[in-house]
């Protein structure tokens, strides 16, 4: 731990006030860290990033207006050396994979990081990458799997919210039998036995979010 250097400037992007408050409380206990901003959505996060130029951005993935991954992409597009740590409730290889692909330097789960969060912030700040062990396992588990297409992800998400094929077809403006084809493909790719199972697997692997 270095005390003489500049404190690490941290931006927190999370829509949940309680969680934000917790993070702030935790960061503020550390002398080498300082909170420079709190954003409640992806959009706000981008604006605050521009305004504060933090060293580290803690990014939630599930937010109302814009997903964390989109926000990461936007920020990284503007500031390629932005160091962003994904701090999320969701596990799942797909989400992690997507986030890392988008440019996140670390991927940690909210439930697991009480102790690791600060270490991770510091590690990322020094330029390292960090993926939590559980997430790493998940990633390894599904390294060779076929990934779902964007349309399949959409379909799976709609299934997850309790929609019938017909409704999905209406929503996506495609034929019902096309939806069926997608569902079949989803089940096969995920190795799911039925729709419920597929949704569970989708949630678990972070393909879809609640």
């Amino acid at each position: 731990m270095s005390t003489h250097s500049e404190p690490i400037r941290i931006l927190s992007v999370d829509d949940h006030p309680l969680l934000r408050a917790g993070v702030v409380a935790l960061i503020e206990t550390q002398p080498d860290m300082t909170m420079v901003g709190e954003a409640t959505s992806g959009r706000e996060g981008i604006e605050l990033f521009r305004a504060t130029r933090p060293n580290i951005t803690l990014m939630d993935l599930q937010m109302p207006d814009m997903s964390g991954i989109d926000a990461i992409i936007a920020i990284r597009g503007e500031f390629p050396d932005a160091r962003i740590i994904v701090l999320t409730t969701y596990g799942g290889d797909v989400l992690a994979h997507r986030a890392l692909k988008a440019g996140a330097r670390a991927y940690i789960l909210k439930g697991m990081v009480r102790k690791d969060l600060l270490e991770t912030i510091r590690a990322v700040h020094t330029g390292r990458k960090h993926v939590q062990t559980e997430v790493a396992y998940d990633l390894a588990d599904h390294a060779g799997d076929d990934s779902l297409t964007a349309r399949e992800v959409e379909v799976l998400a709609l299934i997850g919210s309790g929609n019938s094929n017909k409704f999905i077809a209406d929503k996506l403006s495609i034929a019902e039998h096309t939806v069926k084809g997608h569902v079949k493909s989803i089940l096969s790719k995920l190795g799911a036995s039925d729709r419920t199972h597929a949704v569970m697997l989708g949630l678990k692997r972070g393909i879809i979010q609640l």
Binding site: D15, H16, P17, L18, L19, R20, A21, G22, V23, A25, L26, I27, E28, T29, Q30, T40, S41, Q62, P64, D65, T89, K110, G111, R114, K115, L117, I159, G160, S161, G162, N163, S164, N165, D194, R195, T196, V199, L203, L210
Partner: protein, 1056 residues
């Protein structure tokens, strides 16, 4: 008294016997039926021995005076009357009123002939000619169109016609040819006025346009024609006498005839011509008129018609009755002048029956197999035992007593030795000697000395075993055997009796019958079996030897040395010392046999208790009896009864070969040679086919069109055998339906119901009047067309369609079930996701936040306890907040499961809960439109949306009035939550999120998610209105909703 034209010897002798017995000649009286041969009427019979049958109006004859009778090759009898044309099939008369296929009305018929080509020629009184062939009438053409006055047939069978205008014509190879081509010319060349009879000229008014009142030679209407052996065609005119055509010219005959009106002509058997005129009959013998051969009675009679039958009888129909002429002279058919009637037509049919036409109907004369004589006028008509001596005297002893003989219809009673006071059990004899076995008086012999009987009687006093002699037999060595009723048998030889009884080896002391063989072997019929005596050695055959029964009633030693044995158990025969049962399974031959005789034709005539049978001897010996080997005779064959008598020798053959049967009712005689002839087969015809009562035309192949109502196809048929039409039986079958031939039936109609579509062939055969099935069958093929639903293509496609439909229904049901399942799964999935989201949104995040706080506090310890304490305070606050949020989430979950179907009520409940915070706020719910069921999932979403909006209003608006307005419109569902509060800060409106909840953007997103649209109007101080609009299709489940409910039974599916 018989009306006799020429007295025959029979009639002379009959008067001698009149005081004894009355001749009853009865054949056919008891029944109108008889059996038939292809033989004409027996010339030897007296006229009254023919069986007769009459048809007048009372038996269905349509009426009218018969003018002509003929038979076509197809077997139908055609009768022309002065009212029309009739066809007769033996049972039914059918009137042909119209010459179909034309509409020509037939009317009065003058003459009918059937030519060799099978055509029926019908000469109408209107002088028109019709030809009938294959069910169609054809009007005469060209020369034969009008003015035909007579039709006949030539020797070669072709039709011969006489035209007023063209003279004699014949019809050959489809053309009319004039036989006198010059005659017409000659007549037209003649000057002078043709003479026309008055009624003729009116009938011939047609002629005016054709020939100006000129007739062909002989210038008069020809009313009779015949062709003789010398090739001359004779023309008999109505007023000018007889002409003939020779070398294509017409010549006047120049004969001296009784009258100039020639009613009928008949070619003689070899040569010559019989001429029937209005005033008498004449015979032209080829060179001259020969009056000697014409019976005196016919020389002045009005002769109307003549026919010669195949036996050579010449039948003459006169105005005063029917006369038969043959070698024996002429006999009249009528018993008395009272019965005389005008005979207008005569015809012999193919079976040899003679048809007689009268002004009142038709009559049929035919032979019966038997002629029966009534032998006694007493109540019992039994004639007892019979014996025929060499003088053709038929001896018989009536059951009631006495002895008589009959010869040629004359009967004589014999009274010698009080025979008239005794019952005659048995009669036997040889040459001039007659032996009589008597019930009480022993054994009597009769010798005829100079025509008078001399009697000698033997009794017990002479050594006879017993005075009751049941059977007497004279063996070939001249000895007389007297079998007694219970004392054995006595042999009379050289004036001495020798008696044999059971003690000697006889099977029984009652002797029923005795026979001997040329070898000297004697046989005795006893109740204990058949006893045989060969050179003083006795042997008795019983059932052990194969006899059907031990009680032997009669025995017959036949011409080939076989001994036939009649027992109470049927027929057997003894051949080479072996007894064989004869009748096999045939029940008729298992009855008690009462008498047997053999004829020269190989048949045995057997009389049993109740049947008269003729059985093939060979078949009986071979033990293979077919149906045709047994012929049973009944009353319709001329018998008066079929019950035999219990007397020895009740069946006997005479020297002419005739078989005499002594029956319980009269004495019957049959000429086996006539009875054994091949009988003419019946011709079977299918007459009409009717479908549901309407006849169908039989022309061509019969197609019965498709119809749902085809339930009854009836076929009418006839069997043409005229001798005894009532005896004709039919067997039929319908190929394509019946498995085999029907049982013989007398009905002339077969009815089939419910025949399916398909091809059928109705076949029928008829037995003839003798009961023989020797005719060929008649068949009508027809086809019942299928209705379209019976057609194969339709049925198979129906099956396919049904299969497809079943499959579709199956698929549909499968789809419904899986869909229903999917819906449930989807609902649960949605529910799960929602709960997960709730947990995630509130509890997890809250707890994670708390954990961070706690971590922070821990990080401060122990160095900065104060800070840590502050941090912990904050944690507690945060904890309270997290708990509140979690409580809300749980409440959400709980309330969502308690959401009322009625949204307005649900909102009222929510408002009540919220009002706890702000009791001053007034809340009301407005509902517009008829409340409709929302999709359950959507209802929850709407509920939550409304609750969120209400919560916002209660928590943040500081309103006094809050209003929820629910509009169930046809096209959309609208929910409005409005308040009169402070309005929403525009910043909040844009950024949305207030702490802890979705906020307006969240609500908007939610609304979007379930297909709704959210609008917000707000103004500082003027309140806020949040409007949620959902299209009807989504809100109410859309038009697909009813379908869902149709099969799915979705009741309670979403959640309950």
């Amino acid at each position: 008294m018989k009306w006799s034209l020429k007295s025959s010897s029979i009639f002379r002798k009959r008067s001698d016997a009149r005081r004894w017995l009355v001749i009853g000649v009865i054949a056919g009286l008891a029944s109108t039926c008889c059996a038939y041969r292809a033989y004409a009427l027996d010339p030897d019979r007296t006229m009254s021995q023919y069986a007769r049958e009459q048809w007048g109006r009372e038996r269905g004859f349509p009426g009218g005076s018969v003018t002509a009778i003929t038979q076509t090759r197809d077997g139908y009898l055609w009768i022309g009357t002065d009212q029309g044309l009739i066809r007769f099939d033996g049972v039914n008369f059918r009137v042909f009123g119209q010459a179909s296929p034309t509409t020509f009305s037939i009317g009065a018929v003058q003459e009918l002939i059937a030519d060799g080509a099978g055509d029926l020629w019908i000469l109408l009184q209107s002088t028109k000619i019709l030809r009938y062939h294959d069910g169609k009438f054809e009007l005469g053409r060209e020369e034969a169109e009008f003015g035909i006055t007579s039709v006949s047939t030539r020797k070669d069978g072709s039709a011969l016609l006489s035209s007023l205008a063209y003279g004699a014509l014949h019809y050959r190879a489809g053309k009319y040819e004039s036989l006198t081509p010059s005659a017409y010319l000659a007549s037209s060349a003649l000057s002078g006025t043709p003479e026309l009879g008055d009624n003729l000229s009116t009938r011939l008014s047609w002629a005016e346009g054709v020939v100006t009142h000129r007739l062909a030679e002989p210038n008069s209407a020809v009313i009779s024609m015949a062709e003789t052996a010398d090739g001359k065609i004779w023309l008999g005119t109505r007023d000018k006498g007889l002409f003939y055509v020779s070398q294509a010219r017409v010549y006047a005959s120049g004969m001296e005839l009784p009258d100039a009106k020639i009613n009928c002509l008949l070619a003689g058997q070899r040569e010559g011509l019989w001429i029937g005129t209005d005033q008498g009959m004449a015979l032209w013998d080829g060179t001259k008129i020969s009056p000697a051969q014409v019976p005196a009675s016919l020389r002045h009679s009005k002769i109307l018609t003549m026919v010669r039958d195949r036996d050579g009888n010449l039948w003459v129909g006169t105005a005063r009755g029917l006369v038969r002429m043959n070698g024996d002279g002429a006999s009249a058919a009528e018993e008395s002048p009272r019965e005389q009637r005008t005979i207008t037509a005569l015809f012999e049919d193919r079976e040899g029956n003679l048809w007689v036409g009268t002004p009142r109907g038709v009559e049929c004369l035919h032979d019966s197999a038997f002629v029966t004589y009534a032998v006694t006028s007493r109540p019992s008509e039994s004639s007892g035992p019979i014996y025929i001596d060499e003088q053709e005297r038929v001896w018989f002893g009536p059951t009631e007593g006495g002895l008589s003989w009959m010869r040629g219809g004359t009967m004589v009673s014999v009274n010698s030795d009080r025979l008239n006071q005794d019952v005659v059990y048995s009669i036997a004899g040889s040459k001039s000697e007659v032996w009589i076995g008597r019930q009480q008086g022993g054994l009597t012999s009769l010798h005829y000395v100079a025509g008078s009987p001399v009697a000698r009687t033997y009794t017990e006093a002479d050594g006879l075993a017993q005075n009751s002699v049941y059977t007497v037999h004279q063996s070939r060595d001249g000895s007389v055997w007297a079998g007694t009723l219970s004392g054995g048998v006595s042999r009379l030889k050289d004036g001495k009796f020798t008696t044999y009884t059971v003690a000697n080896g006889l099977g029984g002391n009652s002797i029923a019958s005795i026979e001997d063989a040329p070898t000297g072997t004697m046989w005795f019929a006893t109740p204990g079996g058949l006893s045989e005596l060969i050179k003083d050695r006795w042997r008795t055959y019983t059932t052990k030897d194969g006899l059907p029964a031990n009680d032997v009633r009669c025995i017959l030693h036949d011409s080939s040395g076989v001994l036939w044995i009649g027992t109470t158990g049927g027929v057997a025969f003894l051949k080479a010392s072996h007894v064989h049962a004869g009748g096999g399974d045939n029940g008729l031959l298992r009855e008690t046999v009462l008498g047997m005789a053999e004829d020269h034709g190989g048949f045995l005539w057997i009389v049993t208790l109740n049947h008269v049978l003729r059985v093939s001897r060979v078949a009986l010996l071979a033990g293979k009896l077919r149906d045709e080997d047994i012929r049973e005779y009944t009353l319709s064959d001329g018998l008066r009864g079929t019950e035999g008598v219990r007397r020895d020798r009740s069946v006997a053959e005479d020297l002419q070969g005739r078989i005499w049967l002594s029956m319980n009712r009269g004495l019957s005689v049959v000429v086996p040679s006539r009875a054994n002839r091949e009988s003419v087969p019946a011709i079977a015809h299918v007459e009409t086919v009717s479908v549901d009562g309407s006849p169908v035309a039989l022309q061509g192949f019969l197609r019965i069109p498709a119809s749902a109502s085809h339930r009854r196809v009836s076929v009418d048929y006839a069997g043409l055998s005229f001798a005894v039409p009532d005896r004709v039986r039919f067997r039929y079958r319908l190929d394509g339906f019946d498995q085999g031939w029907s049982e013989p039936v007398s009905s002339r109609r077969a009815i089939y119901t419910n025949l399916g579509p398909g091809s059928y062939r109705f076949r029928v055969v008829a037995s003839n009047s003798d009961g023989l099935w020797n005719g060929s069958e008649s068949a009508v093929p027809f086809r019942i067309e299928p209705t379209f639903w019976q057609a194969r293509w339709f049925q198979s496609s129906s099956v396919i369609a049904l299969a497809c439909l079943t499959w579709l229904l199956y698929r549909l049901r499968l789809y419904q079930i899986s869909r229903q399942f999917d819906i449930r799964v989807e609902e649960r999935l949605g529910e799960r996701t929602r709960i997960a989201r709730e947990l995630h949104d509130s509890l997890l995040q809250g707890f994670q936040g708390l954990l961070f706080h706690l971590q922070a506090a821990q990080n401060m310890l122990p160095e900065r306890p104060q800070d840590a304490k502050r941090a912990l305070d904050s944690v507690l606050d945060q904890g309270d907040q997290a708990l509140a949020e979690a409580r809300n989430a749980v409440q959400d979950l709980r309330s969502s499961s308690a959401v009322h179907d009625d949204l307005s009520e649900a909102l009222a409940v929510v408002a009540e809960e919220l009002a706890a915070q702000n009791p001053s706020v007034k809340f009301r719910v407005l509902v517009e439109g008829k409340a409709r069921n929302l999709d359950p999932i959507l209802r929850d979403e709407v509920y939550r949306f409304a609750r969120e909006a209400l919560r916002n209003a209660y928590s943040h608006a500081h309103a006094h009035n809050i209003e929820a307005e629910i509009t169930y419109a046809d096209l959309r569902f609208v929910l409005r939550i409005r308040d009169d509060g402070a309005g929403i800060d525009p910043k909040v409106l844009v950024l949305g999120s207030r702490e802890g909840h979705w906020g307006l953007p969240g609500m908007r997103e939610r609304a979007k998610k379930f297909g709704g649209k959210m609008e917000v109007w707000t103004e500082g101080g003027a309140g806020t209105e949040v409007e949620l609009t959902i299209p009807a299709l989504i809100a109410y489940g859309g038009p697909s909703a009813p379908g869902r409910f149709l099969f799915a039974g979705r009741k309670g599916a979403p959640r309950s």
